[in-house]
């Protein structure tokens, strides 16, 4: 019995030290990334204050862009959303709306609103997609930028591939049709494609922010508010941390693996050469970036991926747990699928920083973190049952993690305050601060649970996105 207790105590000691080491490792990496991000952000903002984006508006040398917006059952908002896409501040662009076999009357609304007629468009399908039922353009010259593709349902990746086949311009901007774009978003997204000499810019991405409870007028965001619903409010904070303190650093390290599917621009030629979007994964946005990068590295073509910290795209975050769970489990499945498709890159020096840093980071801190956390909880529960838990030490460990979580959120708030200052109302700042205190008890367990569901779905072989119900921004629009 003495031996049994000694063994268990030893196991307990080792377990706690391992948990502590993992926590220290993850926290250190967050802090290093935050430091690099802040440095890069400061430099970017300094440079940006002297940039005149208007030069792109009048120049025939501005990159020609094709916006691809897949739409599935978006009848509630499609009319307004397409209107806002057509009125962006840019000249050299076309809008391709791909109706991915919607079951609602999206197509009828588009035909009626934009005077659409069936057109014979000359294009060469480089990627196989589900059958295209028809391609429409407008009779009205005011909508000459618009092309609507009506196709059979094949999922988001398939719809984006159809858009890639049809796009006539060298750069494609893939967006979620229900996102609200900043009016200068295309100007900012296009600029990096002009800036590199000797290195090909294969993709650029911008920051996505949460638009719940913000005021939208004529398809544009006019007033930024913090959501009252705690679940979406905490997501505001989460997005601030991810985009301001994380991705900017990965951009600086040239190790960015993910450009949000909600808003990103790609070099069409490279995207096609890499094989387009993978229809077999739900993480098609991340998978495409990894595959394009892998293609460039394997073919020894100098390249880079650019990242813009400006808030260019505003999206609706889930407000209830059911939808949140679906979204997060899908994200986890997407991560598992992407990392497993590209497992060859893991710790492979052939893939430089991507193989030695980005992929291992995502594997250990994004993919495995929820699993490690869950295992820790189970072991802790067992220790409690067997009466082996050193409560004093355990509580200190909890406090350590909790205080870091708050500290990191406050860094994000400070960074936001000193840079974009999008939440100037005092009340909004305090709402976010309160959210930082609540998050570890409320939001974080839900996020871990949803990620575990993602593991389970992957093991069970679940495919597809599942239905994503959105409330739509129009409910909050000012007349």
């Amino acid at each position: 019995m003495i031996f049994y207790n000694t063994e268990l105590t030893l196991f307990f000691e080792i377990y706690l030290i391992l948990i502590l080491a993992y926590a220290i490792l993850i926290m250190s990496s967050y802090l290093i990334l935050a430091y690099l991000s802040t440095k890069e952000l400061k430099e970017y903002l300094k440079k940006n204050s002297f940039v005149d984006y208007e030069v792109l508006l009048t120049s025939e040398f501005a990159p020609k862009l094709s916006l691809i917006a897949p739409a599935y059952n978006e009848s509630f908002t499609i009319q307004e959303n397409v209107k806002s896409l057509l009125s962006l501040n840019y000249n050299n662009y076309q809008v391709i709306v791909v109706n991915d076999g919607s079951k609602d009357n999206s197509m009828e609304i588009l035909i009626k609103t934009y005077d659409l007629i069936l057109t014979e468009l000359d294009f060469h399908s480089k990627i196989e997609t589900k059958k295209i039922r028809g391609i429409y353009t407008s009779k009205n010259a005011a909508f000459k930028k618009l092309i609507v593709v009506d196709k059979e349902n094949g999922g988001k990746a398939d719809a984006l591939n159809a858009g890639l086949n049809i796009a006539q311009n060298p750069y494609v901007v893939c967006i979620d049709v229900d996102c609200i774009l900043d009016k200068d978003s295309l100007l900012k997204l296009a600029k990096p494609f002009l800036e590199s000499y000797g290195k090909r810019i294969i993709a650029t991405g911008g920051v996505v922010r949460i638009a719940n409870q913000c005021v939208i007028k004529n398809g544009r965001l006019v007033d930024v508010n913090i959501p009252d619903v705690m679940l979406s409010r905490i997501q505001v904070l989460e997005y601030l941390r991810a985009f301001l303190l994380g991705r900017m650093a990965w951009g600086r390290l040239d190790g960015l693996l993910l450009i949000s599917g909600a808003f990103g621009a790609f070099d069409k030629e490279i995207a096609l050469l890499a094989g387009g979007y993978n229809t077999k994964t739900v993480g098609e946005d991340m998978e495409l970036v990894v595959r394009m990068r892998r293609y460039m590295l394997e073919n020894k073509i100098p390249y880079t991926v650019s990242y813009i910290p400006d808030p260019l795209c505003w999206t609706e975050a889930p407000e209830d747990f059911k939808i949140f769970k679906k979204q997060r489990s899908r994200w986890m499945r997407g991560t598992i699928e992407t990392l497993s498709i590209h497992k060859k890159m893991f710790l492979n020096p052939k893939y430089n920083r991507l193989g030695l840093l980005s992929i291992p980071y995502w594997t250990f801190f994004e993919l495995l973190a929820p699993g490690i956390e869950f295992t820790g909880l189970v072991i802790t529960a067992l220790f409690i049952i067997f009466g082996l838990l050193k409560w004093h030490f355990f509580l200190l460990l909890l406090l350590f993690v909790y205080s870091f979580a708050i500290f990191f959120s406050v860094i994000a708030l400070y960074s936001e305050e000193r840079t974009y200052h999008k939440y100037p109302k005092q009340a909004d700042f305090f709402k976010l601060l309160l959210a930082a205190f609540i998050e570890p008890f409320y939001f974080h367990p839900l996020a871990v649970y949803a990620a575990l569901i993602g593991y389970k779905e992957k093991i069970m072989g679940t495919k597809g996105w599942g239905e994503m119900t959105r409330k739509g921004f129009t409910k909050k629009e000012e007349s």
Binding site: L194, F400, F407
Partner: protein, 273 residues
């Protein structure tokens, strides 16, 4: 004094370590919180001051522009005397003059330029050119170019030869505004590639400032730097300089660079249609 070696050896380091880091996180969070509040208050105070200064500045500037009030009278104004040496007041007045100067031409613009010189604000802008921080230099260049301070041309031209891209673009724009083509002919000797973004900015500066005298643009076609030649071709095409056709024809005939040959032929086709 804590003996760290002892702590580590007998495995009792974990608890003190946790307590220390928790205290650090809590303290750092509190400091950041105070910094956020201070930053917010500073912004509010700055905004209040800006409103206060703006009403005084507008009164003074409009009396200079529309009532021909000389600087000798302005410098006796109680409000002006009170704030004349305040750095933030000088920042706001400079911004106001720059914004107004963009909108006015002719005699009104000249009055603003005269005030800028007489009030000594121009000295602040020249001082910025000597600042080691590139972003301050950029600000000085923008101000001097806006106010047509041709005296600054040589200094700005030297700055434009540097490697900082943002500074380079700002300086080249200023040089073009101040001296037209003379502001870019030195690029023929430029050793580094000029990216498309810089080229678009140069072309835009020519269009924006309506540079009529384009003598010397053809020199860019003789550069050994292919990106400079490309810039020359783009300028000729965008500004529709049909008088430069012979130089483009010569380039198309002599260059061994297939890309440049193609671009030159494209320009010729555009200009001769």
């Amino acid at each position: 004094m804590i003996n760290f070696r002892e702590l580590y050896k007998n495995s009792t380091w974990v608890e003190p370590f946790l307590i220390l880091t928790i205290s650090l996180f809590v303290t750092a969070s509190f400091i950041l919180y105070v910094m956020i509040i201070r930053s917010r208050n500073r912004n509010i105070r700055k905004e209040r001051l800006r409103i206060e200064y703006s009403s005084l500045i507008e009164k003074l500037i409009f009396s200079i522009i529309f009532d021909d009030t000389p600087f000798s009278v302005i410098k006796e104004d109680k409000g002006y005397i009170k704030y004349a040496n305040n750095p933030f007041f000088r920042e706001v007045i400079t911004e106001t003059i720059m914004n107004l100067h963009k909108n006015y031409e002719g005699v009104y613009a000249q009055k603003l330029e005269k005030f800028y010189t007489e009030s000594g604000l121009i000295k602040d802008s020249f001082k910025k050119l000597r600042n080691p921080k590139w972003e301050v230099k950029c600000k000085g260049i923008t101000e001097l170019a806006e106010i047509n301070a041709t005296k600054a041309f040589d200094t700005i031209l030297t700055i434009s030869k540097g490697r900082n891209k943002t500074l380079k673009i700002t300086a080249l724009n200023a040089c073009i505004k101040l001296r037209g083509t003379k502001g870019i002919v030195h690029l023929t000797e430029h050793h580094y590639p000029i990216d498309d973004w810089t080229q678009i900015n140069i072309i835009n500066a020519f269009k924006k400032h309506d540079i009529g005298d384009t003598k010397g643009i053809e020199l860019l076609l003789e550069s050994q730097n292919s990106t400079v030649v490309t810039l020359g071709l783009k300028l000729i095409k965008e500004l529709n300089l049909t008088q430069k056709i012979p130089y483009v024809t010569q380039l198309a005939a002599r260059t061994t660079n297939s890309q440049l040959k193609y671009k030159a032929q494209d320009v010729l086709q555009t200009l001769t249609v």
